[in-house]
């Protein structure tokens, strides 16, 4: 176990260094939720002829930030695999005495850490603008809630990584996932305005709960009753692990699918 943990730490270090070199990506990820939420707020102001309630802007700001985190997490797994395929790094990794799961987990944890960093910057700006310093403690607790909520999403990342090894095209794999998550998870609007079937899809995915818990925590009305569905989300982590393993044994290793 100690060996695996050391391997995870070593890969994490490399991934974090790699991330620090990508300043443009990090900058854009921070800028994007602010830009898009202000754009829709501007459109709302134009249509209504007066400035809408600023709480609505905050609602979308938090939602778009979580959307950005979801996109980064799913895309980063897919792109990690793609680059690994092109550079033949994946061939060596599958042949090495290291569990491929550790590699995928390290890549996902890095993007998760980046996501939390983004949330800290964007969310802090939003909280200060809308609530001043009064809700700051709630905001920091919400960041912890978000960090825990991202854990089940690692399971989805494992599935994305496995399907990318087979499908080869990272964007083509992560794009449908991003589209489904964006639409059904109540990030930019409440899911109550969606058709019933899309509400169900949203409610079985972890992203919806991440956004709901974070908003509730910042506003100070999150209690243990709200969290009752939270443990069930860990099914994604367990399910993701088994699906990844299934793909790995039956398609990736068997058919040598990890080559360029």
């Amino acid at each position: 176990m100690k060996k695996e943990f050391n391997q995870l730490l070593a890969i994490l270090e490399v991934e974090i260094k790699n991330l620090l070199r990508e300043r443009g990506t990090v900058g854009f990820a921070i800028f994007f939720p602010i830009l898009i939420s202000l754009s829709t707020y501007g459109v709302g102001t134009g249509i209504l002829g007066k400035a809408p309630n600023i709480d609505l802007w905050f609602y979308q700001l938090i939602g778009f930030t979580i959307l950005m985190i979801a996109i980064i997490m799913s895309s980063s797994s897919a792109w990690y695999v793609r680059q690994g395929l092109l550079s033949r790094r994946l061939e060596y990794l599958f042949a090495a005495s290291i569990n491929p799961l550790i590699i995928v987990a390290a890549s996902s944890i890095t993007s998760g850490l980046m996501g939390i960093g983004i949330f800290l910057v964007v969310g802090l700006i939003g909280v200060l603008v809308v609530y001043g310093i009064s809700n700051l403690l709630n905001f920091f607790l919400a960041t912890i809630i978000l960090a825990v909520s991202l854990i089940p999403i690692l399971g989805i990342n494992l599935i994305v990584a496995a399907t990318t090894i087979i499908g080869k095209e990272p964007e083509a794999i992560s794009q449908p996932l991003s589209a489904i998550v964006s639409t059904t998870s109540g990030l930019a609007y409440p899911i109550t305005i969606l058709p019933f079937i899309l509400q169900i899809i949203g409610e079985v995915m972890p992203y919806y709960y991440a956004a709901e818990y974070v908003r509730a925590m910042i506003n100070g009305y999150l209690n243990l009753v709200n969290l009752e569905s939270f443990p069930f989300l860990f099914i994604y982590l367990i399910g993701g692990y088994f699906i990844y393993r299934y793909f790995e044994y039956n398609f990736i290793r068997k058919e040598g699918n990890y080559g360029a």
Binding site: F28, A179, T184
Partner: protein, 268 residues
Amino acid sequence: MVLNLSKKVFSKITTEIERGIKLYFRNGIWLLSDIISTPFWVIFLFLTIVFYAQYLLKDVNALTSLMWGIFIFILMNSFIWAGNSIVQSVTNGIVDGVILTNTNITIHLLGRSIMSVFDSFISGIIALLTASYIFGSSLLIHNLPLFFASLIIALIFYSLFASVYAALIVSLRSPWIVSNVLNFILPFLSGAIPPQLFPKSVANILLFSPFYYISGQIVSAATGIYLINPTIMLIISIIITVVIVFISNFISKKLIQSMSKEGKASLI
């Protein structure tokens, strides 16, 4: 000699178009991805835009304009990424070959633009059908000849715009950031967000944007809602397209000259 030269250019153009068609259909997974993603993105965009004014979900005219707005958004987005593809051409050393064969960058990007055309039409049709089914937008086209004329003008304009855009971003470190930002600016400048939803003074700002005459014309022809006289709009859109032919040609030549001079056509 002139005949020989135009034959050469024609041959290069057909080669690029063939390359684009082959690239698009080589990876069936892309098509599948578009078919799954587009309906979701359409619902997402509709509901995000009307988030502050949900009463618009009962206004068929507004919903129809929004539907065509999303159609042109898909079209513009696809060509922005066609322009962005120059980065891959540079990274993969393809631009080296383009320079060596004395090919214009605009011609080189045609292959990628053809992919954008396929992409726009497949995703565009899915978007129209989704919006009509889920939100009840009307699929009737108000002025069919003008609609097709404006669509052809837009395809020519955005193919050339992609090459101008490519030349402007090629030396940037993270050009995809600019592409993403442009994706959010263009809907405002092009009439993708229906101008009739805004007060007239705000809507009239669009008249100063060249993108409105190109993209907004498609929406106007489809919905029958015009900010200015349709004939004047058509003439202005043709003039803008002619201007971009010259700009694209000029910038493309300058880019090739500077790359040849500085030897910066490839990353390594």
